[in-house]
């Protein structure tokens, strides 16, 4: 039998990236500020995690404006959804194998 650990995605090692992906799985789009509040981290920290996910093409962003302020919203890509589901499956299987 294949070890489910092989299906774990290195990119999802970080709790913060895991949190971002979770939020984007259940919402069509989430703004930068909402993610910041949800995860309770600084702008710079969040931006760097978002960049990692973006470079792997798991998420995409859209720049917009609210009045004069920029408002960037993020959403999940097809590929990101697929990878996240694989990761979830692997986690679930790991728990199953412990029992």
């Amino acid at each position: 039998m294949k070890n489910p650990i092989e299906n774990l995605n290195k990119i999802f090692d970080s709790r913060i990236r895991l949190g971002i992906m979770s939020a984007l799985m259940v919402n069509d789009e989430v703004s930068f500020n909402e993610l910041k509040e949800l995860l309770d981290i600084t702008d710079g920290n969040l931006a760097s995690h978002l960049k990692t996910l973006e470079e792997s093409e798991f998420i995409k962003f859209q720049k917009g404006f609210i009045g004069r302020k920029t408002n960037t919203t993020y959403s999940i890509t097809k590929n990101g959804e697929k990878e996240f589901k694989l990761h979830l499956d692997a986690l679930t299987k790991m728990i199953g194998s412990v029992k």
Binding site: S22, M25, T92
Partner: protein, 210 residues
């Protein structure tokens, strides 16, 4: 061997993030209890005014024709004050809880919950007002319960899911009330008063008890 992955904690984290980002979870059980008490107080004042409780004949159409404008006016004010008191007290407890948990009160989840409540309640309200204008008062109490129940069932997708059962309760009461027309106020007190208190107490017990 020390493993870098803690699958169970990771899954719990995922679940928590999904819930917090998509549902308004600060809704306090105490809000339900407070709103229920306001509703009972309102129903008591109304029953004193129309003095129908013991006689078991709280049929609005009768009241409207026999006692005239003054009573309608009184009832209108009782209803308005009751609604405002219930709304404000419910808001206060939920606000306190959101502050304690550090979850934002006015995020996109709040707006989503708000619109999904407002649409069925608003449409129901307009429908019932128009019915009263046309001189049809009998279905006002069951109508309130049914539309409110539908609004709660709809809202359950955007806040704590258990509110769905409160919605079912209101709908069932409303449907029974359709065939027990003379007892509108009693059904109303049961739905908006007792059910709110029971629901609020259960939610408080489940999520907020220390």
């Amino acid at each position: 061997m020390d493993t870098p992955h803690q699958p169970l904690e990771d899954l719990q984290h995922i679940k928590k993030m999904m819930e917090r980002s998509s549902r308004f979870i600060s809704l306090s059980g105490l809000s339900g209890i407070a709103a229920g008490i306001c509703a009972l107080a309102g129903a008591w004042f109304a029953s004193q005014k129309i003095n129908c409780w013991v006689k078991g004949d709280c049929q609005l159409s009768l009241l409207m024709t026999s006692n005239g404008f003054e009573l309608i006016n009184d009832l209108f004010w009782i209803a308005t004050v009751t609604f405002l008191a219930a709304f404000v007290s419910a808001f206060v407890f939920t606000y306190l809880r959101s502050k304690k948990n550090g979850t934002p009160m006015f995020g996109s989840t709040t707006m989503r919950l708000f619109w999904n409540m407002v649409i069925p309640i608003g449409v129901g309200g307009i429908f019932l007002i128009r019915m009263m204008q046309l001189g049809e008062f009998q279905l006002v109490a069951p109508g309130c319960l049914i539309f409110y129940g539908l609004a709660l069932v709809n809202a359950s997708k955007y806040t704590l899911g258990e509110i769905r059962y409160l919605g079912y309760g209101q709908i069932v009461l409303g449907l029974f009330n359709l065939w027990w027309i003379g007892y509108g106020l009693q059904f109303w007190a049961m739905g908006f008063g007792i059910l709110h208190i029971v629901y609020g107490a259960m939610m408080w017990w489940k999520y907020e008890r220390k």
